[in-house]
């Protein structure tokens, strides 16, 4: 099997507009969590989140007209996709091709997107109509065309980023839009890699995006008991839940031949991935970390690696007691006493749900390229259930150039990806 290389790596979240800025923030020990600016959340049970500062949708998109057709989550996704594609040098290369070669190139370039966000806010466009029609659905129907934007449905499509990034960049190959809550982004990378392995494409753009910091989502997550009062402290004795974040990330993955044809800079290599579910229910996870440990085992087998090959682990670390404890159990089951340095990013950038796995890959790749395992600044004392986890407050050096990224979601879903970072 030929190597799968990474030639574009982008990310946007509260900590910055590219992976380098985000890793700088993490290694400086800075949390981006602060009071929510999106609405007046002073009276809310939780009023903290990691929002993208100074958000300007038109500027991020580079297209003000398109802004009317997409949501905030889509803006992040289109931004990240565009950045990764440009870093990989695809536009410059395709512009120089003749029409027939460009068509062939487009057919051989795929796109997989992990999509989330907006399940509630899209309904809010109907509120003026509902206020006007009261309890009368008959009036709702007659007044509909006078009140709601005719393009409403297109704005609310979960596959908007796939659509607009493919139109903008003429991607016509294998594709998918994965809407599997938190594991969406990491699955988009796994599916992209398979499309290359199976010879269905020579290049694939993997993107994930989410913008879950909305009032209804926050309140529901609080009811489920998943949100911290103030600080996300993964694996810490005082861990009491996660804090929401937002943003997107993207990779360009391709065959070595495709990258060499352009003389593209190789940032890293995709080595393998695995996915496993526990099937206990929407909000249930097993205490023994069974699903996560099986996902890691599958990724190691897929990559042909041993646990001792792994140089650093980017853990899910969502700061809830049950997830932290079962994640520790899973890592002990796979690595035992010989655990590579573990880090996690959500303490600084929040939980990005559908995009979290891919944002963690983008950060893990950049950190791995620097040989640094960022410390977890909000960690003071390990929780008893996490006592054997190899995680520290201080930055450390990676053990090898291989990075393991973990991701877990609702419905007991677990996924793992292994990468090699090129220094």
């Amino acid at each position: 099997m030929s190597r799968i290389v990474i030639t574009g790596n982008s990310a946007i979240c509260a900590a910055g507009l590219d992976p380098a800025a985000i890793v700088d923030t993490l290694t400086a020990g800075r949390s981006m969590v602060g009071p929510i600016a999106g609405w007046d959340a002073e009276k809310w049970p939780n009023s903290q989140a990691a929002e993208v500062p100074d958000y300007n949708g038109g500027k991020l998109l580079g297209d003000r007209k398109l802004l009317k057709l997409v949501r905030r989550s889509d803006v992040f996704g289109i931004y990240a996709g565009t950045q990764a594609i440009e870093q990989a040098g695809l536009p410059a290369h395709t512009q120089a091709l003749d029409a027939a070669s460009a068509a062939e190139y487009a057919d051989q370039t795929g796109c997989y997107v992990g999509s989330g966000g907006g399940a509630f806010e899209v309904n809010y466009d109907f509120f003026p109509l509902m206020a006007e029609s009261g309890d009368s659905l008959a009036t709702f129907g007659t007044e509909l065309p006078n009140t709601v934007n005719p393009m409403w449905l297109l704005r609310s499509l979960p596959n908007n980023v796939l659509c607009h990034v493919s139109i903008r960049n003429q991607l016509k190959g294998p594709n998918g839009c994965i809407t599997n809550h938190t594991t969406s982004g990491i699955l988009s990378v796994i599916e992209s890699a398979w499309a290359l392995r199976e010879g269905d494409a020579q290049r694939v753009v993997a993107i994930a995006h989410d913008a879950p910091i909305e009032p209804q989502t926050l309140l529901y997550l609080d009811q489920v008991g998943l949100v911290s009062k103030d600080v996300l402290r993964p694996f810490d004795a005082r861990h009491d839940g996660c804090v929401l974040g937002e943003g997107a990330a993207a990779l360009v993955l391709e065959t070595e031949a495709s990258a060499n044809e352009r003389g593209a800079t190789i940032l890293g290599e995709y080595l393998g991935g695995g996915d496993a579910s526990e099937g206990e229910g929407i909000f249930c996870i097993r205490d023994d970390g069974d699903g996560l440990s099986r996902a890691i085992d599958l990724a190691l087998i897929d990559a042909g690696l041993k646990p001792s090959d792994v140089g650093m682990i980017v853990a899910h670390g969502n700061g809830t007691e049950q997830s932290d404890a079962s994640e520790t159990a899973a890592l002990l089951r796979v690595f035992g006493k010989d655990m590579p340095p573990v880090t996690t990013n959500k303490w600084s950038i929040g939980h990005l749900f559908a995009s979290s796995g891919l944002v963690d890959i983008a950060i893990g790749l950049e950190a791995g390229r620097r040989g640094v395992v960022p410390g977890v600044a909000t960690l003071d004392q390990l929780a008893p259930s996490c006592a054997e986890l190899n995680v520290t407050k201080q930055n450390r050096e990676t053990r090898t150039d291989i990075v393991l990224v973990l991701c877990r979601g609702f419905a007991g879903t677990n996924a793992a990806v292994l990468l090699r970072a090129v220094r």
Binding site: M151, L153, N175, I178, D275, G409, T413
Partner: protein, 437 residues
């Protein structure tokens, strides 16, 4: 290199406007009797389109018999649970403690949100004058209702299926609008080929027959406004077609690695032989009039199945009954099949049951498998005057008896994702295997 793993379809479950199981759905599809009618699920009297194809007489409790589980299920999830249960029973196999990790699950999930009464409660609490004020929801019970939240999650449907059937392997939900079901089934095929799973429960589910769901399509003028003639509202390829008929439901399949299905003596409907995917990269709602996009998906599915275009006997078209889709799709058919397009029977299941959106591709995959089993191409209902721009060999009026060696099923989505699945008659597959291929 070892031979590529082949995939058998051994179980089918359908909950559709045409019937509450596979047998009754197939009977009505063969009878070409349209399922459109006035909307009864809510007061649609003010909408420009007041018709849809609803699932009638459905009660999820008898098949599922788990009141606690059903509390977590929306209408679409209930269709999914019932259809998946039928598929598992039909296949005669289910995950055990020993092999649960080798079972996967891939679904095309409908658009996710809360139900209309819940949206209305949020509006009354937080936007009484239409302008949303976040603090308004702080005391609103619906905004604290964990059950409402769990039903709205993108993984709500797959969560219920994983738990219900004890599946512990690869699990993914996809959504590429109208292509969702096809892409889910295609991904499931690939999981077995890759060796990631030995068996996969796969399908799609959707129900957009709600005030907000219908609104989206009315605003785009995508649905037929033929309120006085609902049974004929969906008439793909007819010169007078004027939009699709909104349907709802679920379709599920059990897929198995071929040899293990043969060894356990399973009844095999068909081989799921190929998956083709492409992006139109043209406009958000249309394919190019030339068929660019769907052409690549169909060619890839045929190649992926190790076949030639000359092997294809039947095409279950996407055939939505919108002016643009049917024209573009027929252009694609004529390009892909070159000089022999007239030898390929074409029909659209949507002519009978309307457009099941995220479920459509999965339901139509089930229809293709049944067509191969029975050697019968289902008819395209409601075609009176063929659009000259849809110059293909439509199966008109009645089912056409013909041995089907291979069939294709198209699903083309808003957003430009195109899916094509290829199916092979199990006798042909057995012959290929005997010949060492």
């Amino acid at each position: 290199m070892t031979a590529r793993r082949r995939v058998a379809i051994t179980g089918i479950g359908l909950v559709t406007p045409a019937g509450l199981d596979a047998a009754s759905t197939w009977a009505r599809v063969k009878a070409a009797k349209g399922c459109g009618g006035p909307i009864t699920l809510f007061d649609a009297s003010g909408f420009s389109t007041r018709i849809a194809a609803e699932v009638k007489g459905f009660d999820s409790l008898p098949p599922i018999d788990d009141r606690k589980l059903l509390k977590y299920a929306s209408r679409a999830h209930r269709f999914a649970l019932a259809a998946a249960d039928q598929a598992i029973v039909d296949a005669g196999i289910r995950p055990t403690q020993q092999d649960a990790a080798r079972w996967g699950c891939v679904v095309g999930a409908g658009m996710m949100t809360i139900a209309h009464p819940e949206i209305a409660a949020i509006q009354k609490a937080a936007a009484p004058d239409g302008d949303f004020q976040a603090n308004g929801i702080l005391q609103e019970p619906v905004a604290q209702d964990v059950m409402a939240f769990s039903r709205s999650l993108s993984t709500a449907g797959i969560s219920l299926l994983l738990r219900r059937f004890g599946i512990r392997g690869y699990a993914s939900s996809v959504h590429t609008a109208c292509a969702s079901g096809g892409q889910a089934v295609g991904t499931a095929l690939r999981l077995i080929r890759r060796g990631v799973a030995d068996r996969v429960l796969t399908g799609g589910f959707d129900s957009m027959i709600s005030p907000v769901g219908l609104s989206g399509f009315c605003l785009l003028s995508a649905v037929s406004p033929d309120n006085d003639n609902p049974e004929r509202a969906s008439r793909p390829f007819d010169l007078t077609r004027n939009g699709f008929l909104l349907g709802e439901g679920a379709g599920f399949l059990v897929l198995e690695e071929w040899n293990s299905a043969v060894q356990r003596g399973a009844t095999i409907y068909a081989e799921l032989a190929g998956d083709g995917n492409s992006l139109s990269s043209y406009r958000i709602t249309d394919s190019h009039p030339s068929g660019d996009g769907p052409i690549q998906a169909m060619r890839r599915a045929i190649t992926d199945a190790g076949a030639e275009q000359s092997d294809i006997d039947y095409l279950n078209a996407h055939g939505t009954s919108t002016p643009m889709n049917d024209r573009s799709e027929c252009a694609a058919v004529n390009v892909v099949f070159e000089g022999r397009a007239k030898e390929v029977g074409v029909s659209s299941t949507k002519s009978v049951m309307g457009h099941l959106i995220a479920a459509a591709g999965a339901v139509e995959a089930g229809i293709c498998a049944l067509a191969i089993r029975d050697g019968l191409m289902p008819p395209n209902a409601n075609l009176q005057q063929l659009d000259p721009d849809c110059d293909v060999n439509i199966v008109r009026d009645a089912p056409r008896s013909a041995r089907i060696g291979m069939a294709l099923s198209n699903s083309l989505g808003f957003g430009g994702s195109n899916s094509c699945l290829a199916f092979r008659n199990p006798e042909e597959t057995a012959a290929l295997i005997a010949a060492g291929r």
